[in-house]
Every structure is written in C-alpha cells, then in structure tokens.
C-alpha cells in the first residue's frame, strides 16, 4: 500500500486534533444553554501561548523543562502506530501494541516528573492521583488489547484494527460491543474527562490533570495542551477503528472523512456524557476501573471459549 495515505492521515490528525476539544466544549455549552467558545478556540490558545515566554521557578530542575516536549514527542510517535480506518498505520510490527501503550505511559511519566519537580505539594497530589489511576487504566487497556488480539489473531494494532478487517466482527459481536464500551471508559480516564476528573475545575482539590499543568506557561503549556488533544484523538481512534465499517472499499474516497466523522462523534458523545454526569468521588474511581477491568475479563473469557 502506498505510504502517502497513512502519512496524510497522520497529518490530518495533527491538524484536526485540537478541533475535538472545541467540539466537546460546544456540545457542553449547548446543553448548558450557552453560546460557547469558538470551535477553533484551542488553536487560538495554542497560538497565543506559543508567542509568549515562559517563567521558570528557581526550585524547578531539568525535568520540569523536559516534561512537555518529551510528552509531546511520545504522543506524536504513538500516532504513527494507529491505523486510520481503511488505511494501515505508518509503522507496524508484531507486538507494537506494547510500544504503543508505553509511549502513552512515557508521556504520563514525564508529566508526573515535571509536576513533582515543581516541589509544590499541590502538584504532587495531582501527580500521585494520576499515577494511581494510570496503574489501573493501563491494565484495563492491555486487557482490551488482549481481547482484540484474541479476536483478530494478530498482535499488532494494524492487524487488529485494519487488515483483519470485517472478520473481527464475525467472531462475536457482543464481546466487541463490550470492548468498545471499555475502550471508551479508558478514553475518559486517560483524557481526564468527567466521571474521573473535571477539566473545568481549576484550583480545586479534586483535580488531576489541570493541577499538573499549573506551573507551566508559554510554549510548555501549549505543548501540554496539544499533546492532550492528540491523546484524545489517538484513544478515540481505537474504538473508532473497531467500529469502522470495513466492508467499504479501501479506495473509497470518503473513508478518511468517515473515520473523521466517527472520531468527531466520539467527541460529541463525550460532551453529552460530561453534560449529563457529575464527577465521581475519588474513592469511587478505582471501583469503576475495576468494573471496567472485570468487563474486559468477561469479554476475554467469552472469547477464549
């Protein structure tokens, strides 16, 4: 297959990812009866931040400055392993799913290091929570990938989502519906969306992601915001890849548009979930993640039969 299309799709992701944050905010504004910010607000924010300088506290060290660029680089690399609808991923090899998960893990790890590096107890608290939840959500993500791998007989993201094609749905539709649901829960946890963390609560004791970015400014903050947007796109691409109707001809020109539509629909759904739900108590989060793990285990048991 031509390498141009996969690269083109990575380019689309790079350009369109911040749009999803705009869609979520617009949906939330719609349900709250507000007009809401522009769909392109995150682009404006990133543009504005890039033109600003950053202030570094004297207590911070090298990890504080390393966090945002390394995080962005890790997420950027993870993009290359995701197949986009009918088009294969740019890079793939057997077992690349482990690298994929750990690229996301690297981003989180460096964010946590940067947060701890500030020496602020407030940021340390957010970092601790982030680490705690990520331990659980990563296990759940691996379980989901194991289910997908068992269903498709492939150990590469490309094989699971792309080349195995429509066959994966013939194995067991109920199992895959459960997997899509669990993948969506993972999307919410990993992107710090509502049942787990409220992106709107700045300066509250409950927040996780926002608190870790508190001391970053200028280009650093722009990188963090952009990396978050890319991460949403990446994690939305997993369930979208499962749901993508592979019966379509790979040469069909609307494929990229359709895939984009599914990801945008995920963003709309997230906005609706966020408007309709309250944030969970922190103590309840591990319970919900355990339930998600149990769901994917059930899916695995059903497949193994």
């Amino acid at each position: 297959m031509n390498i141009v299309y996969p690269l083109l799709n990575v380019l689309i992701a790079l350009l369109a990812a911040p749009l999803m944050a705009g869609i979520i905010n617009r949906v939330k504004a719609f349900f709250a009866g507000r007009k809401g910010p522009s769909l392109l607000q995150l682009y404006f924010d990133i543009g504005k931040l890039l033109r600003k300088g950053a202030v570094y506290s004297r207590t911070t060290g090298v990890f504080f400055r390393l966090g945002p660029p390394v995080g962005l680089a890790a997420v950027f690399m993870a993009l290359f392993f995701i197949p986009w609808g009918a088009y294969p991923a740019v890079l793939f090899f057997p077992g690349d799913l482990v690298l994929f998960v750990y690229l996301l893990g690297t981003q989180r790890f460096f964010m946590i290091l940067a947060a701890l590096d500030t020496g602020s107890s407030f940021e340390g608290m957010g970092a601790g929570r982030d680490a705690q939840f990520s331990v659980l959500s990563e296990a759940v993500l691996f379980l989901c990938l194991a289910v997908m791998s068992a269903a498709s007989g492939s150990v590469s993201l490309n094989g699971m989502l792309c080349s195995a094609g429509g066959k994966i749905w013939q194995v067991s539709p109920p199992v895959l519906i459960v997997v899509v649901f669990v993948l969506y829960i993972i999307l919410l946890v990993e992107n710090y969306r509502v049942p787990f963390d409220d992106p709107n609560t700045h300066l509250e004791l409950t927040m996780i992601h926002e608190v870790m970015a508190l001391d970053h400014g200028g280009a650093d903050l722009a990188m963090i915001n952009y990396a978050s947007a890319l991460k949403f796109w990446i994690l939305a691409a997993l369930p979208a890849g499962l749901l993508f109707p592979y019966a379509l001809n790979p040469d069909f020109p609307g494929n990229a548009l359709l895939f984009f539509g599914i990801i945008a629909a995920t963003a709309v759904l997230t906005g609706i979930v966020e408007s309709g739900m309250a944030r969970l108590r922190l103590l309840k989060v591990p319970q919900l993640l355990t339930a998600a793990a149990a769901l994917s285990l059930v899916a695995l048991i059903f497949l193994a039969k």
Binding site: P174, V298, F302
Partner: protein, 220 residues
C-alpha cells in the same frame, strides 16, 4: 442474538455485585428475569409455538414484573435504601464475580452433555449466574439483599433447566416458578415482621439472638 442475551446476563451479574443500593439491585433482578424469560424464543425446541409463547409470557410476568414489584413493595415497607456494610468490598465482589465466571467456564468444559445446546455459552452462563446468586447471599447482611441473591440463584437454575430440558415436561419449570414466588412472598412477609420487631433487617445480628442475654450483649 442468544449470545448477546447471555453476555447481558453476565454483565447484569457484575452490576448486581457492584451495586449496594437495594433499589438498583431489584432493577437488575428484573432486567435479568426479563432477559432470561426471552431465552426460550431463541432455542430450537420441539414444542409448539403457542406453548412457547405461553412459557415466555408466564416467565416474564413472574420474573420481571411480579417478583421485582413485590420486592419493591417490601423495600418500601422495611425502608432499607442501601447495604451499609457488605462483608466483601465492592471491587472484590466484582472480581469474585469474574472468578466465578472463569470457574463456571472451566466446570462446563469438563461437563459432558448428552446433546448439543443452542449456544456453547448457555451452561457456563447459567452456572455463573447461580454462583453469583450464592455469593450475594453469603456476602450481604441485609435480608432483602439475600432474597435478591436467592432470586439471582434461581434465575441461573431456571436458565440451566430451560436450556437443557425444553423438550421435557414444562410443568416442573412452572411449578418451580410458583415455589419461588411463594418463597419470596413468605420471605417478604418475614422480613417485614423482623423489621417491625427489631427495627432493622441486618441478618448478621441474628446470631446475637438467644433466650438469655449475656451481660456484655445486653447493651445492644
């Protein structure tokens, strides 16, 4: 389709293990009863269509309407909203449910059946529903939760029976439904009376019942 229903039954199992609110558990039992009631429609049995519809109708009526309705009535009378202290935590309960599912699949793989079932999942799911019901009976303190556990256990037994012996006399099944109905009825009345006497329905404190009261217990 049948596989979807069976999967749904397992998910409802997990949900009942994860919820400590009695009203939510009652709703889960009702959904589970409805899902199990629909199962006979997907079996390739030799029974005539009208009788099949009759079975489905009676099962739905008893399992999804009458029993949950009665439980809700009992809950209102007793005024218990949630399970305050379970013997096993929520997360552990859910994981135990998954373990029970694994055990059920293992057992059913060792269980030779004389004929093929409509779905390879039907026996393990029936076993896991029964195991979940037993687990709820063991791990919950409120009398109402225990009745709910009993109903889930019965759901599992019913699924097992309907899956394997649809050709056999259905009177047995219908008789069993009646037994359960009467059983839950009696339990509901008993719970109400226990509640009126002792102001609570926490079964873990039943062990304190005795003809004589030891000195250290008299304060309770």
């Amino acid at each position: 389709m049948l596989d979807g229903i069976l999967m749904l039954l397992v998910l409802l199992n997990l949900f009942s293990l994860g919820s400590t609110r009695i009203s939510a558990s009652i709703r889960v039992v009702a959904y589970q009863g409805a899902a199990i009631g629909l199962v006979p429609l997907f079996l390739r049995g030799k029974i005539p269509g009208t009788m099949l519809l009759g079975i489905v109708f009676v099962t739905l009526l008893v399992k999804a309407v009458l029993l949950p309705g009665f439980l809700r009535y009992a809950q209102k009378r007793v005024n218990v909203r949630r399970e305050e202290k379970t013997f096993v935590g929520v997360s552990t309960s859910i994981l135990c449910g998954v373990a029970a599912l694994g055990v059920a699949f293992f057992i059913s793989s060792r269980l030779p059946l004389p004929f093929a079932t409509a779905s390879p999942f039907i026996v393990p799911v029936a076993l896991s529903v029964s195991l979940t019901g037993s687990f709820i009976i063991i791990s919950r303190a409120q009398a109402l939760s225990q009745v709910i556990g009993y109903l889930i256990l019965e759901n599992g037994i019913y699924l097992f029976g309907i899956a394997l012996f649809l050709e056999q006399p259905l009177l047995v099944e219908l008789g069993m439904l009646l037994d359960v109905f009467v059983g839950v009825f009696v339990m509901g009345i008993t719970i109400f009376h226990i509640n009126r006497e002792f102001e609570h329905t926490d079964t873990s404190r039943l062990s304190g019942l005795a003809d004589w009261l030891p000195e250290e217990r008299s304060l309770e």
